[in-house]
Each structure stands twice: as C-alpha cells, then as structure tokens.
C-alpha cells in the first residue's frame, strides 16, 4: 500500500486534493478547485473512514488482488507472467446525465459500425458510392475475404464491442478508438468492481452505483441466442490464445463467471463441418465460440496460415452455419483509426442521423486534404499506422529530433496511405492514490456494449486506465499504467441483481462438466510437479538437517544415500562419487533453477502449470501454489555473499513442505472425484511412487553393517517415522522399515498404497463401453501393484554382498512399469492433442 495514503490530507470536501492543472479538465475538481458535486458522497464516505482505516482496507484489497492472482502480462517485464494487477482506490465517477449522453452516442456508434460491416462483407455499396475509400479496405489485413458473403445468425457482427473514451480540456468526451474483434478488459472491470465493493461497501452504497451483473447477463443471453442448434442448452466455449497472452487472467476469470469452458485452439477440432471440443470421454459439439483470438489467428487453413493457436476448418464451420463465433470473424477491419474521418457522413447516409458522439479529430494521410493538414500541423498531432497490424507505436513528431522529424515526414509523404494522424487531446485527469501524494493522472475509459435484441446495451461502468505519470503521452497498461473502477452513478434506486449465484432455476447435477483432454494433461502434470516438489523438499531437508547439525561426512553414514536418491531423481542415475563437502551442492539443488531437478526449477514448473489450469482448481489451491516460497535466482543478493545459512535453507524447506502439504490436503478434501481429480491424483501417486523407489534405490538397496542412521533417514524422508515408532519403539530393523515403507498398504506413504491408488484411478478413467477386458493402462497398474503385494519383507531385507538383490529387482521392475503406465495414459487419453500441421503445398 502507498505510504502516502496515511499522509493524505483530510478529504474535506472544501479542500482540493491537488492544485488545479491550468487549462486542463479534472474529473473530480472544477477549475476553481472545488469538488464536483457528484463526487461529494464518495469523498464524504472516504472521510468517514479516516486515513488509518482507509490504508488498512486498501492493504487488504491489495492482498485480495494478489491472492486472486489477478495479473496482466506485460511483454518483456521481468515479473513477466506474474505482474500483479494495478488498481487505484479512487474510482472514476460518471454522473447520471453524462452516462445517458454516452449511452446514446455509443449505441448509435455500435449500430453504425455494424451496418458498415454488413455492407463491407456484403454488397460493398459504400465502396461504390465513395463513402469509404477502397484504400482502407482492400489492403486492410483485417478485411478477410473468406468471410465475405457468410450468413451470420441474426445478421449480427458485434456481440461485445468496446471503445476508448477520452475527455478533452473542453469537458467533452470523444471516442479515441474502436475495438471490434475481441475487445479485452471487461473481465478486469468486473474484478475491479468486486475488489472495490468488498473494500468500500459504504462508499459504494452511498454513491448509488449501477451494478454490472445485468450487463453480463445480457451478454450471456446474446451469446446463447446465437447457437444454431441445442438452443435450450448450447455448449459455449471461451477461446483463448493461452496463458502467455497479456490478458489470460481475464479469459479464465470471464469463463468462470459466465459459466463457459475455457479452451485453446488445440482443444477444438472440426469434423463433419462442425466444431467439437476434445473431451476425455470423446468429442462434444460446440455451438458458440466466444473468442479472444484475433480474427486472422482463428483458422490456419483459410486465414493466417502460420497461426498455431487457431482451429483448422473453423471458417468452413462458420460458413456452413454450424457454429457461431462472437464477434464475427472479419470484424477487425473496422479497427483502422482512419475510418473515424468518415463516420459523420456514414452516419447520415446509413442511419439518417447526425453522429452523436464525436471521434477525436482524425486525418488519414491517403486523403490529399488530410495529408496537407498533417504536413502543416506536424507538431500538433500523433501519428499512427493506418492498420494496427503494422505494429508501429504512436509517434509524437514534436518529441523527435529535427532529423528524425524530417525523416518521418518524408516517410509519410512517400506512403501517405499507411499513416493516420490524430489531434493530441489534452486528456482529463482524475485523482489517484498510488503515489506518495494524491495526484492527478490522465484517464481513458474503455466502455463496453453487448448486442441486445436488435440493438445494443451498454455496460454501466467500464475499465478506466490511468497514465503512469502526470505528463505521460500515452495511457496504456503495456506502458506501466494502472486502472480504476468506473462508477456510473444512478439517478434513482439501483437493481442489485447478481450473476454470482446462478440466475434462474438450476438443474441439479453431480457431474462437474466434462474435462477437456488438454486440461486433463495439465492436471496430471500439476499433480506430478506438486508431488515432485514435496519429495525433493523432503530429501533436501533430510540432507540439510544433517549438514547443519554435524561437520564432516565421516559422522554421516546416511548422507551419501540421500544424495544418491536426489541424483537419481534429478538425473536418472546415481553419481560416481560424493563430494567432500556436499553443502554447496545441496544449496544449489535448492536455489539454482538451471540445475536439473532443483527445487527452484520444480516450483517454477509447478507455478506455470498451476497458472495454466487456474480455471480448474480452487482459489485456495491457487493461493497455496502462489504462496510457496520464492527461491531467489541469485541467493547472494538475498542472503549476502556467503549465501544462505543452513538455518535459512532449512527455514525455506520447512515452509515449502507445509505449503505443499496444504496443497495435497486441498486436493484430497476439496476436489470432487471427477475426471480432473483422477488425473491430478494419477500424477501425484505416480510421482510419489517414483520418489519412494528412488529413495530406496539410493539407500537400502545398499546394505551396511551399522544401518541405524540410514533407516532413520528413510523413515523420516518417507514421512513414516511416527508410525514406525508407535509399532516398534526404538528397534530399527531393515525388514520392519521395508514393510512399512514398501508393503504396508495402510500406510498412505508406502509404495504399495500409491500403486493401489493408481490402480483405482486408472479403473475409473472413461473408456469405450464396448471394450471387453482391461485396457493396457489397467494391466500395467495391476502388474505393478501385484508385484509389490506379492513381495515379502524378509526377502526384500535379505542382504547379499553388501546389497539387497530382491529389493533391487522389485524396485527395478516397478520402476520400469510406472513410466510405461505414464506413456500409455498419454497415448490413450491425450494423444489427440498433437498439433495440426500444413501439408506441403503444390504448384
């Protein structure tokens, strides 16, 4: 939480929070510095809380954001995929009259854009009669020729449409840009709202803020109405580019909120001209795709051939009317800012109305008049590419050196069609509390509309984005800006409808929904990494404790065994020798991500997979994984040049064991025993069995005259010491240890217990009813379980020539069956996850 909050001046409504900005428009203060009237209830409510309570609550809110794992991935950010969402405690307030004005203007704009789309993908009269320059359409990468003439359900193109709004110094809102293909941010707006209402319920009540839930219900109803069949219970999926996308959090969040399956392109397949979801139990038809993929990525067969995240054949399925895609494919054609120049005329021609809400002044350089203006006013404009796909950042010519400026001007004159200029709006400011002092920051509001009946409905709210500094030229999340909740104030009472408890009557069901194969694969690996992390931590802790307590290898008969087991797990074979001082190697096995099998590396993988299945595990499980200790890449920076002390290493390991135990507990206690749980459990049990095998192969397979410390260590790492002591008191015998750790099925840590669980899990996997007898996965699981069940403790413990041959044989046998089982499961259930590829072309 900003330290400044506690220093905030009393939010007395008579005192401005900061001096007025000359010539600028401030959302909360009038030019004289007085609070605007619609802001008074909010500041009053804040005042009543007092600075200390405010700071306290905001600390909780930040915590909530972190715990919910709200992230926005910034490309190239060192925090990468885990950059927490930036939310400011002061919302942007919009007065009722202004909201009505915006609503009218934006609904008109959405209707207009939809008519333009219908024409471009139909008769193209707008090109013939010169209302839209062909130069904005023919070379437009967003103009997708395969979409031309495709009949759409209800002739609707835009199901969720967004615009960026900015207010100029004159106090009027203008449209800065349109997002027509797959607008982002609606989910963040929702998350912001949830955090704000939990943090400031009093202010929220006092201000009479419109709820967002009705809007999302409209969106859900609209998407449902698109289904070409199964109208009563259509299957709707949210198609995401995947966890590396900047707004992946939002995709998972919206999918969960709206009740849709979150899918990637690889989860879908087209057969018989229809789209199917690949589930463990087979293929299930999909009726509606709510997509967050850009247009051209959606189908590598007919659209962008290099797309690896699309669904081959999707275009044809849409053309055949077998699936609906929202927004319609091809809608990105309108994202050229140059079109804004022509909207006033188009509005008159197509709707017979004046354009209600103006766009920011825009000049397309392909138009001779536009070019002339831009050349004459080069320092007053911001220059953008005509087509956003050109990936050129906006340029402010006035910020360039003389040479750069001249070179750019030449470029514009040489290829005028490629450039659009817009007026540099002095954006309005709003108060933020994220700095040391309350301060003004520029704001841009993203507003959302959903198709509703024949028209559109507006979200009474939106995502307000805040510039990173008071003088920043661009307001962008990628540029380090933050966000605000947007409160649209109601003139009268507000509906308190909520989507969170499902609306309408609910069919009682015990099925948890069907599991996509990719999700099963990820849960399997989540289980494996979680258990691998726990096993490795226990082994490392065993080694670290001993190193901390004693000085030399000579007193540590059991240490080589533990190190051998670690090496077996990490590299698959036992090392030739043990270093004189294993301390540095143990520390590296904890912290060094690059070291094979290191705990830091496993935890990183665990976090990554957990991020991918975030929509499938409980929030608590996600929190546990998120809360696991960090293993700094450079221990010296955290612990000083001597590295961590043994106590510090132990402390991290202890905390990690507890965190992972919590994860395991949640997996047992809070997940229904559906297919997802089966795969998670398969992963955990398989990994734990392999871990026990490695532990014994490193230790008890070798026999030594004085084995007490080794037996102790095995019991400790296998978490079975308590049970052993209760049964045998202080007597340490190899056969008793092996009985408990290998054979005793009632010990949840024993090898046999893992194999029994595996056999049970495998027998519950979906398989074709017509198949008689056991599947290959069942046979392998049963073979492993049988081998251990038939073994005898005395024989396993029998020594011959400093080793235990029977134990070794058993461990080798089971150690071969388990990887084969893993491969078979992959082949049987997950093999159709293979990626599609292109045939080589012909001439």
């Amino acid at each position: 939480m900003p330290s400044g909050l506690s220093d905030a001046p009393a939010t007395d409504t008579n005192h401005p929070w900061y001096p007025p900005i000359p010539g600028g428009y401030d959302e909360a203060h009038d030019p004289a510095g007085r609070l605007r009237s619609h802001w008074t209830p909010f500041f009053k409510a804040l005042d009543e809380l007092g600075p200390a309570e405010l700071a306290e609550r905001w600390r909780d809110a930040q915590h909530l954001i972190r715990e919910n794992g709200v992230t926005y991935n910034v490309y190239g950010d060192p925090r990468g995929m885990a950059r927490p969402w930036q939310l400011d405690p002061v919302p942007l307030l919009i007065a009722p009259a202004e909201a009505a004005h915006l609503e009218r203007g934006l609904i008109q704009r959405a209707r207009l854009l939809e008519q333009i789309l219908a024409d471009l993908y139909g008769p193209q009269r707008l090109l013939q009669n010169g209302l839209v320059p062909p130069e904005l359409i023919f070379p437009n990468p967003g103009f997708l020729r395969p979409c031309h003439g495709v009949r759409l359900p209800g002739e609707r193109f835009l199901h969720l449409y967004a615009t960026n709004l900015g207010r100029g110094a004159d106090g009027h809102f203008r449209v800065l840009g349109d997002r027509t293909q797959a607008p982002s941010g609606a989910g963040y707006a929702l998350e912001n709202r949830i955090v704000m209402t939990r943090t400031f319920p009093e202010a929220f009540q006092d201000c009479r803020v419109h709820r967002l839930a009705l809007f999302f219900r409209t969106l859900r109803d609209t998407l449902r109405s698109l289904a070409p069949r199964n109208k009563d219970n259509p299957r709707i999926v949210l198609l995401t580019p995947g966890p590396y996308n900047e707004t992946y959090f939002e995709h998972a969040y919206l999918a969960r909120y709206l009740g849709y399956t979150l899918v990637e392109g690889g989860d879908l397949t087209v057969r018989d001209g229809r789209v199917f979801l690949k589930l463990l139990g087979g293929l299930q038809p999909v009726d509606v795709i709510f997509r967050r993929l850009d247009d051209d990525y959606c189908d590598p067969l007919e659209l962008w051939p290099d797309s690896t995240i699309g669904v081959p054949g999707l275009m044809q399925a849409v053309r055949s009317g077998n699936v609906a895609v929202a927004n319609a494919l091809g809608t990105g054609v309108l994202e050229t800012p140059a079109l804004m120049t022509y909207l006033p005329r188009l509005c008159r021609e197509l709707l017979g109305e004046e354009l209600w809400l103006p766009s920011v002044s825009t000049w397309w350089c392909g138009d001779p008049d536009g070019l002339r203006y831009v050349v004459d006013h080069f320092d007053e404009i911001v220059l953008k590419p005509t087509f956003p796909a050109a990936r050129m950042e906006p340029v402010f010519p006035s910020e360039l050196t003389k040479d750069q400026r001249a070179a750019l001007l030449e470029k514009v004159k040489a290829r005028p069609h490629a450039f659009v200029a817009q007026e540099r709006l002095q954006l309005s400011t709003a108060p933020v509390l994220t700095g040391n002092q309350p301060a003004p920051r520029k704001v841009v509001v993203r507003a959302y509309l959903a198709a509703h009946g024949d028209g559109f409905a507006i979200m009474p709210g939106g995502l307000t984005r805040v510039s990173s500094g008071p003088d920043a030229l661009v307001v962008s999340m990628q540029r380090g800006g933050g966000s605000k909740d947007t409160w649209v104030l109601a003139a009268g009472p507000v509906s308190d409808f909520s989507l969170l408890p499902a609306a309408g009557r609910v069919e009682l069901t015990r099925a948890g929904g069907d599991l996509p194969s990719r999700a099963a694969d990820n849960l399997f690996w989540l289980g494996r990494y979680a258990e691998r992390a726990e096993g490795t931590t226990r082994l490392l802790r065993g080694a670290a404790v001993r190193l901390a307590e004693r000085s030399g290898l000579a007193d540590l008969a059991e240490l080589p065994g533990l190190l051998r087991a670690l090496a077996l797990l990490a590299e698959g074979h036992t090392p030739l020798g043990i270093p004189e001082d294993p301390g540095p190697a143990v520390v590296a096995s904890v912290f060094d991500v690059a070291r094979p099998g290191s705990l830091a590396g496993i935890v990183r993988d665990l976090r990554r997979v957990a991020g991918v299945v975030r929509d499938l595990i409980s929030t608590d499980m996600w929190r546990v994984v998120n809360g696991l200790s960090d293993f700094p890449a450079d221990p010296a920076a955290t612990f000083g040049s001597d590295g961590p002390t043994p106590a510090e290493v132990l402390d991290r390991l202890n905390r990690t064991v507890i965190g992972l135990a919590a994860f395991g507990g949640l997996a047992v206690e809070s997940m229904t025993r559906g297919e997802g749980w089966r795969f998670l459990d398969l992963g955990r049990k398989l990994e734990r069995a392999m871990h026990t095998i490695a532990l014994l192969k490193g230790t008890l397979v070798y026999a030594a005259p004085n084995e007490g410390p080794v037996l102790d260590a095995v019991l400790e790492v296998a978490d079975s010491a308590m049970t052993y002591r209760r049964r045998y008191m202080g007597t340490l015998r190899a056969e008793a240890v092996l009985d408990l750790v290998v054979l005793d099925e009632s010990n949840p840590r024993s090898l046999c217990a893992q194999l029994a669980a595996l056999e049970d899990d495998v027998s519950h996997l979906p398989r074709p009813a017509r198949l008689a007898g056991r599947g290959p996965d069942q046979r392998l699981a049963l073979a492993a379980l049988g081998a251990v069940r038939l073994a005898e403790a005395e024989k396993l413990a029998a020594t011959f020539d400093n080793s235990r041959p029977d134990l070794r044989t058993l461990l080798d046998e089971v150690g071969t069956l388990l990887p084969a089982l893993s491969d078979t499961i992959t082949l049987q259930y997950l093999s159709h996850l293979t990626a599609a590829r292109h045939l080589s072309g012909t001439t």
Binding site: Q128, H148, P305, G313, H838, L839, S840, G841, T842, T843
Partner: protein, 291 residues
C-alpha cells in the same frame, strides 16, 4: 478452337497414418472470355466426409473437403474438358500507364473498382523499392501501358533464370530479385510486385500449360505442368494475360484455373493434417488436345 482433356492428380504419401485432413482446393477451372469449361470432375480417395463447393471472393470455384478416416495416402484427381480460343484479340492501342493509374484511384464503376483491389500489396507480391526501380526502365513517361508491360515481361524473361531448385513455395520476392532465379510463380510474383509498385492493378493466374512434343516424338503423358502467369488491367482495354516465364502473351496453350492477388489466394491444394509424420507429394498433369 482447341479442345483439351486434362487430368491432374495430386498424391500425398504419409509416413504415419493421418487421422484427419482438411483441404481447400482451387482445382476446378473458371470460365472466361477465352475459355469454356465443358465438364469437370473431382475425385478424392479416401472418400471425403465433407465435400463442399462454392465460389471464392474472386469468383473462382473452390472446394473444401475433409477426410476423416485414417489413411496413409491421399489422392486428389481432377479431370476437365475445356474449349480454349486459339487467339486472344490483343488491344491495339492502350492508354498511357499513368492515366490508368490515375483512373484506378478515382473511378468507382464496377469494372474499375474490381480491378483496383489488385493494385495493393499481398503477402507474396508487395510493392517495394527494388521492384519499383526495376520496373521504371520499362514504364517510361507516357508509354502505353501494354507496351510497357510487354517490355517488363520480356526483361524478366531475360534477366531471371528458370531454376526449379532455387526456390521454395514461399520465397519472398526480395530474395528472387537477389538470386535472379526461380520458377513460374516466382516470376509472376516479381512482375506483380513491379506493377503494384507503380500503382497498377495486376493479378496472379494459376493454370495449366500444354507442352508441345519435339517434332516427330510422341507426346509424353504427365509431362505437362501446372503453371502460373499474370494478368494486367489495361483500363478500358480490359485485362491482358502475360507469361514472364515464357515471354508470351498466353493464347490457346495456357488454360486458366483461377486468379487472385498471389499464389496464396489460389494455391491448387492446401491442407492441414493431424498425424502423418514425414510426407511426400507427387503431382502429375496431363493436358491432351483432342480433336
């Protein structure tokens, strides 16, 4: 009138079984003032589960089909019977190229608007400084557009070497300019890039070329080939085909399949498969004149 019987077989052989393949084919010829399609048949083995025909954005017949049974070989065979006119009347006088360019930018009548779409960059044939400089020598000030284009065609024929090993299907024009080597679609892309750099409208044409056996030798079945050339919009004089690979104005030995902005719009057969391992493709074309 020359009558042709054409068979065109594409065979994919896979190392591993393919469980699903989805394809888009531009293998059915379109009609034009120069040619009439009397009969055309496509057969796919194994039997496709979905087989849909329609016209694409450019008016070409296009076929979408999927094979959903496991297979290790895919055979797509088309046979056409066509009539091609022996001589295309060549426009005698064409306007200066600058006039055509200026009218393209301003005229919104159907023929001109349709032509204008081919004046813009496409993935495989985009304007640039190199093609622009290369074209300048032919497109001198005030020169009649067809006269200049014939000169450009001749120069590409002279300056570039036909070399089937030099390029892949997706060789960028810049690279072809660099090596000055390539095959018919490379030369077509080069000429398109040149003409588009000047602001002129030109399209890519995919089709067949009937080869003549040496005198006294029998015609070899399967020795014919698919071919590519271009077509340039000459204003009111209409579209004129030009073959930079052979320095010819296509007549009755060039048989049209489809046209588009470049190879990507009209590639004869493209597809996406699941499985397959290593795969090989064989194409055999036979263009037989019949009396």
């Amino acid at each position: 009138m020359t009558h042709y019987r054409i068979t065109h077989t594409t065979t994919y052989t896979y190392g591993d079984p393919v469980s699903l393949c989805q394809n888009v084919a531009h293998l059915t010829p379109r009609s034009s003032p120069r040619q009439r399609v009397e009969r055309t048949v496509m057969s796919v083995t194994p039997e496709p589960a979905v087989f849909e025909e329609r016209l694409d954005y450019f008016g070409n017949p296009v076929t979408y089909f999927t094979v959903q049974e496991q297979h290790t070989e895919l055979v797509v065979r088309v046979s056409h019977r066509m009539v091609v006119r022996p001589d295309t009347p060549m426009p005698t006088a064409t306007p200066p190229w600058e006039e055509v360019r200026a009218q393209l930018r301003r005229d919104r009548s159907p023929a001109w608007l349709d032509a204008y779409q081919y004046a813009f960059d496409s993935r495989f044939a985009a304007a640039g400084k190199t093609p622009s400089d290369y074209a300048a020598a032919s497109f001198t000030s005030g020169r009649p557009i067809l006269d200049a284009a014939l000169d450009l065609t001749r120069r590409i024929y002279m300056d570039f070497v036909y070399d089937a090993k030099a390029t892949t299907l997706a060789t960028p024009v810049a690279e072809v300019f660099e090596t000055r080597r390539g095959v018919c679609q490379d030369f077509a892309h080069v000429e398109l890039a040149c003409l588009r750099s000047l602001g002129l409208a030109a399209r890519y044409v995919s089709g067949y070329l009937s080869t003549l056996p040496p005198p006294g030798r029998p015609r070899l079945v399967g020795a014919d080939a698919t071919h590519a050339w271009i077509s340039i919009f000459c204003g009111d004089a209409g579209w004129v085909d030009l073959d930079p690979t052979n320095n010819q104005v296509p007549a009755d030995r060039h048989i049209l399949l489809a046209w588009g902005r470049d190879y990507e719009d009209v590639s004869p057969l493209k597809g996406v498969i699941l499985g397959g391992g290593r795969h090989e493709v064989k194409v055999s074309v036979d263009v037989a004149p019949v009396s």
